[in-house]
């Protein structure tokens, strides 16, 4: 009997030891470059399969007013810390203007009033955060294709990069940025939103304009947009991964999953 309990204890310890080793091993692997490269094939496979199985124009679900979240949650930056932004906000963004340049025939600078004068679209959509929560809100804005029609992107423009006002470090450096490809840029629901739930877009949700790219997760929906540039490649921007969270924390550029 004593012999049996010894054996059981030994087996239990063996299992616990093996488990601990496996866990430490997993954490080691998470920090190794070759292994994370292997893992990221999962994400690339998802992106390619998504592109393969679906029309690029498939529409995100739109909801009814009854589904709207009473209070649309703010995540990440809720008030950009830069003096430049706060000065613009003080004047209700009267002096704010969006520069659209890069690989375009006609670079342009648009004030908020000019953007609001363009044809608009309103959609009630679900915002899915990478953390797992969702909130449903009603967005009004200018479809991005309307703006692109004004600047006429050159054929070699492959990505739209959104430069934002919010510094992500305490010292004011590393401003937020995000990028999408041209399929998403021309998508019917992709817009520069300036209203949330029929009200002027609040600062906590990205005033004066934020991006809506409805078939991807929340971190793609850049807030506090200051400049939009069309580029051929992303590797010379930031650390080359196409967005602040992609560069700094290893999130996937493709956030459709």
């Amino acid at each position: 009997m004593a012999h049996q309990t010894d054996r059981r204890r030994f087996l239990a310890r063996l299992l616990a030891g093996a488990g601990t080793l496996a866990l430490v091993g997993c954490d080691k692997l998470s920090n190794s470059e070759w292994f994370t490269n292997v893992l990221s094939t999962g994400g690339s496979l998802s992106k390619n399969v998504h592109r393969l199985i679906s029309a690029r124009k498939s529409m995100a679900q739109e909801f009814s007013e009854a589904d709207m979240s009473p209070n649309f949650r703010s995540n990440g930056t809720s008030l950009p810390s830069s003096a430049e932004y706060q000065a613009l906000a003080k004047d209700n963004f009267r002096d704010w203007a969006l520069t659209i340049d890069g690989l375009v025939e006609k670079p342009i600078t648009l004030t908020l009033t000019q953007i609001q004068a363009l044809p608009s679209r309103t959609q009630i959509t679900r915002h899915d955060c990478v953390e797992g929560w969702s909130a449903i809100g009603k967005w009004t804005g200018t479809p991005l294709h309307e703006v692109l029609a004004l600047v006429k992107p050159l054929p070699q423009a492959h990505f739209a990069v959104f430069y934002c006002a919010d510094p992500m470090q305490d010292d004011g450096s590393q401003k937020y940025y995000e990028s999408i490809d041209m399929d998403d840029a021309y998508h019917a629901q992709t817009m520069l939103a300036y209203k949330l739930n029929d009200e002027t877009l609040p600062i906590k949700n990205g005033a004066p304009i934020r991006l809506r790219v409805e078939r991807q997760l929340g971190y793609k929906q850049a807030k506090y947009i200051m400049r939009l540039a069309l580029v051929e490649k992303l590797d010379h921007i930031g650390e080359g991964k196409g967005g602040y969270w992609e560069d700094s924390a290893g999130y996937e550029w493709y956030a459709g999953i």
Binding site: S30, G42, S54, S58, S69, R126, V130, S134, I136, A249
Partner: protein
């Protein structure tokens, strides 16, 4: 058994599990462990489960893990289930961090991959092994159909269905067939395997798809058939735990019906049949 074959008086081996089944079984074990543990790390980023299309629809979560500071400034882990609150310090809501101090987190580090809070990396693990898991599952079902493993070994027979109640009683008493009677799966075992393969696993995969904003757009509104994205996330979580419950029962049954013999049969394929001592006695008289 009324007559016992002379040759079966001695223990002998049968070839129980074919090589593809054995390989796919162990790939599945690795995938499931990684998916479950990386899933819990992902869950920790928003340690609450809601029902409905969004998380903010005016209804409280059905499950929530959080931490609060008590009057002594110590962290207390709180788990809230259907409005009932439990102190779960040390395990849920607050558990040991890398510096040996309690930190705020849903599930503890010893049950998550990676150990520390690291959503981006947990997603990488989860989606890579999800692909492996799904491909392995498709191979398994295809192989089982074409090799007739499914039809021969897994589908219940008429006599199986007639003996369900008997099988329930036998399981409750931990009584299991021995000798040659142990070769075919018993009826509860078949039902368990079939439910996992054709109900729980497809459901957990589908509810994973439901959380992808892109896949939701393929047929707008399909997620509402399951109650909306947040309900889908909750179902994904619950089914994952049902699968864990299956694994525990499965491993328990493996242990009490001869752990080494069962393990050997899933590694080399060889399963030893021990003859019944009683019947061989009868035979001897």
């Amino acid at each position: 058994m009324s007559t016992v074959n002379k040759s079966s008086l001695e223990p002998y081996f049968i070839y129980r599990h074919k090589l593809p089944i054995r390989i796919m079984h162990w790939i599945n074990v690795i995938c499931f462990i990684v998916l479950f543990m990386s899933g819990l790390n992902i869950f920790n980023s928003h340690a609450a489960l809601n029902l409905g299309k969004s998380s903010y629809n005016g209804y409280a979560p059905i499950l929530e893990m959080k931490s609060i500071q008590n009057s002594n400034g110590e962290l207390v882990g709180i788990t809230n289930i259907f409005g009932y609150q439990f102190d779960t310090t040390g395990v849920l809501g607050a558990s040991m961090g890398p510096e040996g101090k309690l930190i705020r987190r849903g599930f503890p580090s010893w049950i998550t991959i990676p150990g520390p809070k690291w959503l981006a990396m947990a997603r990488q693990w989860h989606f890579f092994f999800a692909w492996l898991f799904v491909i392995n599952g498709i191979c398994y079902v295809t192989y089982s159909l074409f090799s007739k493993h499914l039809q021969r070994d897994l589908l219940t027979t008429k006599s199986d269905r007639a003996s369900i109640w008997q099988s329930v009683k036998d399981h409750a008493r931990f009584k299991h067939p021995s000798g040659e009677a142990a070769i075919p799966y018993n009826v509860l075992q078949k039902i368990a395997y079939l439910s996992v393969i054709f109900i729980l696993l497809p459901l957990v995969i589908l509810m994973g798809f439901a959380m992808s904003p892109f896949l939701d757009s393929l047929i707008p509104g399909w997620v509402d058939l399951f109650g909306g994205r947040q309900t889908a996330r909750t179902i994904h979580f619950i089914v994952a735990w049902l699968l864990v419950a299956f694994v525990f029962i499965h491993v328990f049954e493996v242990i009490i019906t001869g752990v080494w013999n069962n393990l050997r049969s899933m590694i080399t394929g060889q399963y030893q049949i021990k003859t019944l001592i009683e019947s061989s006695h009868k035979e001897g008289k």
